[in-house]
């Protein structure tokens, strides 16, 4: 048999074996197809970073037309569900019991001061346990207040005291739905899971069960071993990606403004980076438990926390921001978010893809160099 035919035979043999193992092992199918669905449903429906119908206590010590009008303004806002109280004490009670998330306090001199100096401050207390939610709620309260104040002043023919009125226009995600940026980012997490964690564990399994030793004393070459091992997982990962995209588009109505081929190409690139990490981990760990732990700590958690998928990288402390440059998912999340919400923005795609390409070369290269047909290296 000529060498090329022998090579092809070895490679197809490996790929077939690996595919059969994937098909027979319910856990790899679960990680590739059930996990994405669960994660997407969880993040799509369970986690929302928007403030909507926030329960708010409004303390009106002396009801009159002005206070009623302000309460009405809050009531009409889609962000709040106000409850009325006549004393701060009662409101505090509801606040402590977590029945309300914040308190807006109108003192008994509210109308007097409003008429007198046209400047009647309101007291605002917000539950700051969840800093993010607190910031958003605070902003919304201020928004409602200023809008009402401007309206009030205009009604009386006065110049509003508010010097500049901002009229924000929100682009890319006009409805400010957190789905729209969470779901694309989630694809990066899912592919990290399949590429790095699943792969590192299945390679480690060969070491653990002693099958690697038998494989190594066959004429197979390292490249064939690596390609034969990774190809089926590459397809599995791309399948997981496709499933996630389908769910994003049809289940969560996330727009895809970029091109599908750009999405596929960049995803394939990221998949190779993830496989490289998985392979590298398994070469070092050689035991399923350790490989699983290591890949959770060095690939999955960073992809979750440091990729900008949930927490904005711009608001992280500077040293952490530097660290995020080492996290491949960061670049892929940036690509995904612009592909889904903005379109094919070439400078973003090319810059981030270049970073991914460098990482792919580094990880696959290192894994290839560390992967010997020797037990003592």
């Amino acid at each position: 048999m000529n060498p090329a035919a022998a090579r092809r035979m070895r490679l197809t043999g490996m790929i077939r074996k690996e595919s059969l193992q994937i098909l027979r092992d319910p856990s790899s199918i679960a990680i590739a197809f059930i996990m994405p669905v669960v994660l997407l449903l969880l993040f799509g429906y369970g986690v929302s970073l928007d403030a909507r119908k926030v329960p708010l206590a409004m303390v009106v010590e002396q009801p009159d037309a002005n206070s009623a009008s302000l309460v009405g303004a809050f009531r009409h806002s889609e962000y709040f569900a106000p409850r009325l109280f006549t004393s701060l004490q009662e409101a505090r009670q509801a606040f402590d019991l977590r029945e309300v998330f914040g308190i807006v306090w109108l003192r008994n001199n509210f109308s007097n001061r409003l008429l007198g100096q046209g400047d009647a401050p309101i007291g605002v207390i917000i539950n700051g346990v969840d800093a993010n939610q607190a910031r958003i709620t605070g902003g919304y309260i201020q928004g409602v207040w200023q809008a009402w104040l401007a309206d009030y002043a205009r009604g009386r023919g006065l110049t509003p005291r508010v010097p500049v009125v901002l009229e924000p226009r929100i682009w890319f995600n006009a409805a400010v739905r957190s789905h729209n940026f969470l779901v694309p980012g989630l694809i990066a997490v899912i592919m990290t899971l399949i590429g790095a964690m699943l792969t590192s564990m299945v390679v480690a399994r060969e070491w653990e069960r002693g099958t690697m030793e038998a494989l190594m004393v066959t004429p197979i070459r390292i490249d064939e071993l690596v390609i034969g091992k990774l190809a089926p997982y590459f397809l599995l990962g791309m399948g997981g990606m496709l499933l996630s995209v389908v769910m994003a588009l049809w289940q969560f109505d996330v727009p895809l403004r970029g091109s599908f081929w750009a999405l596929t190409a960049t995803s394939a690139l990221f998949m190779l980076v993830a496989l490289g990490m998985g392979l590298l981990i398994s070469v070092v760990a050689k035991n399923q438990f350790v490989a699983g732990q290591v890949s959770i700590i060095v690939t999955f958690l960073p992809a979750f926390i440091l990729s900008g998928f949930i927490f904005s990288i711009g608001s992280m402390p500077e040293p952490i921001q530097w660290i995020t440059h080492l996290i491949p998912a960061r670049y892929y999340v940036a690509i995904l978010q612009s592909l889904f919400l903005a379109g094919d923005i070439w400078p973003i795609m090319l810059g981030n893809s270049a970073a991914l390409a460098v990482m792919m070369v580094v990880f696959l290269g290192l894994a290839r160099r560390r992967f010997h047909k020797r037990l003592d290296a």
Partner: protein, 582 residues
């Protein structure tokens, strides 16, 4: 470097990482072509390291290795294209079927598709796996897995076949079949085979033997070259009046005797020089006759060297256990015991009784149901049905109380590897509820009786295997149990440590402790007073070792071994099973 040898090692040394002792030291070997060469030695002798070096999986620190005329260090891939290798735990893919495993190795070895059907048929016929090609490898029995592993290594007939302990943990029937397959390859294909084994009785089946110990080659030659010089130094000694166990204990202490083991109903003795020592124990009916020397005699003589009579005296175990007066009462009664796991029946209606102070053996291949039966007796696993009484207590009602009366040594080393010997013992003393003074006393006893003092502060994970086993046994005996359960206590332990171990067991039994032991070493069955032979969850036979062997005595085999009896039983059982219409 062509002296016609298929595999040549010259001055090969290998030390792993920061290990103090080298795994191999200045090893020279020549493996002659078209022969079966056995690599024999105790654990840690360097057998596996040697195999892996020959397969190009390891690089030597110094020296050269040539296989089939190729330099293994320079061209591992070329070598790997022409050898077959079966590692100790053959890497079968358990989630692939028999056929799929074969296909994979045929692809990897570049077997042309046109040649495959004929080769497959031949291999399946040879291994008896033909009816199971669609079965997942994980569902095969231990022996069948091993045969499939061999078939995979043979899928493209290699010129040099390396087999690392292919027969470990395999039942005697499958072992015989594996040997038959190996010899067919040598005869039909002119293959060269290097095979390592820890079973000394397999040495006799090799054309040539390499004896290894602590990384060094002690000798090489046909097995007879080893055993022949022992002629005149091996004897069978019998004394019906004292019993074989006590006789063995006495003989082991006699100066001039290197080794005393129970063989059949007698004691086999190896002496330092020709002839029996002048002073033998003073027993009236003691008879001694020269025995045909075997490889094991030479092995022990080589390893123990001149340290005759240094066999540790039967350790003073200091048991004030139950006296022999109560000896006829059954302490363990098992009746109609059954255990199901889902629709798989691991134990099918097993019944037997064990008397006080007896050494009782459960003999069988892997998967025969020995360990399951054990776990039920120890109260670790509830029975599906049947009655079990241990020390007079019904296990269904008084499991905790029964457990306080028994000691259990699990199959794997079940101590804490990262605690020291002393810490392990302290932990087990507290687990058994020993109060402070007694625990101190017992730990001191354990360190002394098992000679563990010098390792007291060493992490138990770093102990030599034989010492780990001593520690495990000491821990199981801390609370002075009446009954001791030993699950495969000697598997993986080298022959020297095995001898020592049985001496301790004998001493315990003499002190009145009831010992239940499982083993797949057929020769160890001779140490038991009575035993059951199990297969596929059933008891095939119960009785004394002598009874069992007597049943299979024939003109062909005037003096059958335990292994002969076992194989005859299994074959009869399989014939019966085959005769029953499905």
């Amino acid at each position: 470097m062509d002296n016609g040898a298929a595999l040549v090692f010259r001055g090969v040394s290998k030390t792993f990482g920061d290990a103090k002792a080298p795994a191999l030291e200045q090893v020279d070997i020549d493996i002659r072509p078209t022969r079966v060469t056995g690599l024999i030695g105790p654990d840690g002798a360097g057998k596996t390291t040697l195999m892996r070096l020959a397969a190009g999986l390891l690089t030597p620190d110094s020296g050269s290795i040539h296989a089939l005329g190729m330099d293994v260090v320079q061209e591992p891939l070329r070598v790997q294209s022409s050898i077959g290798y079966m590692p100790q735990r053959f890497g079968l893919y358990e989630d692939l079927s028999v056929q799929e495993n074969l296909d994979l190795y045929a692809d990897l070895q570049g077997v042309a598709r046109a040649d495959r059907p004929a080769r497959y048929q031949q291999l399946m016929h040879m291994t008896g796996l033909a009816p199971f090609t669609r079965r997942l490898a994980g569902r095969l029995s231990g022996g069948m897995k091993q045969k499939l592993g061999l078939a995979c290594a043979l899928v493209r007939p290699p010129r040099l076949l390396l087999l690392d302990e292919p027969t470990v943990g395999v039942d005697p029937v499958s072992r015989r079949e594996l040997w038959a397959i190996v010899y067919r390859q040598v005869e039909d294909e002119g293959m060269t085979v290097l095979l390592s084994t820890a079973y000394l009785d397999e040495a006799g089946r090799c054309d040539e033997v390499i004896l290894m110990h602590e990384g060094r080659r002690l000798g090489q030659g046909p097995p007879a070259d080893f055993s022949e010089p022992m002629r005149g130094r091996s004897f069978h000694i019998g004394a019906p009046s004292v019993g074989k166990r006590r006789l063995q204990a006495e003989l082991a202490g006699v100066p001039g005797i290197i080794d005393a083991t129970i063989e059949g109903e007698q004691v086999r003795v190896v002496t330092t020089g020709a002839g029996l020592p002048a002073r033998l124990p003073d027993i009236p009916d003691l008879t001694a006759a020269p025995a045909e020397p075997i490889f094991e005699d030479a092995f022990i003589a080589a390893l123990k060297g001149g340290r005759a009579g240094t066999a540790p005296p039967a350790p003073a175990l200091g048991f004030h256990g139950p006296t022999a007066s109560a000896s006829d009462r059954a302490v363990i009664e098992v009746h109609g015991l059954q255990r199901r796991f889902g629709d798989f029946i691991a134990v099918k209606g097993v019944s037997f009784q064990v008397r006080r102070g007896e050494i009782f053996g459960l003999l069988g291949a892997n998967g025969a149901g020995k360990t399951t039966t054990f776990r039920i007796l120890c109260g670790l696993l509830p029975a599906s049905s049947g009655e079990v009484r241990v020390a007079g207590l019904d296990l269904r009602r008084a499991r905790a109380r029964a457990r306080g009366r028994l000691g259990y040594m699990a199959q794997r080393f079940s101590l804490y590897a990262d605690l020291t010997v002393l810490q392990n013992l302290r932990f087990f003393a507290s687990a058994y509820d020993l109060h402070r003074r007694r625990s101190k006393q017992r730990i001191a006893w354990a360190l002394e009786a098992f000679e563990l003092e010098k390792y007291a502060n060493a992490n138990s994970g770093t102990l030599p295997l034989g010492y780990k086993q001593r520690l495990a046994m000491a821990a199981a005996l801390l609370h002075e149990p009446d009954i001791l359960f030993l699950d495969e206590p000697t598997s993986g332990v080298d022959p020297l440590a095995r001898r020592e171990f049985w001496q301790r067991i004998n001493a315990l039994a003499e002190a009145g402790v009831t010992v239940l032991v499982t083993t797949h070493f057929m020769d160890e069955a001779n140490y038991c007073d009575r035993l059951v032979i199990m297969a596929e969850g059933e008891v095939l036979a119960t009785g004394t070792p002598a009874d069992m062997k007597a049943r299979y005595r024939s003109d062909e085999r005037p003096d059958p071994t335990m292994e002969d009896a076992f194989i005859a039983l299994i074959e009869a059982h399989e014939k019966d099973a085959g005769a029953v219409p499905a």
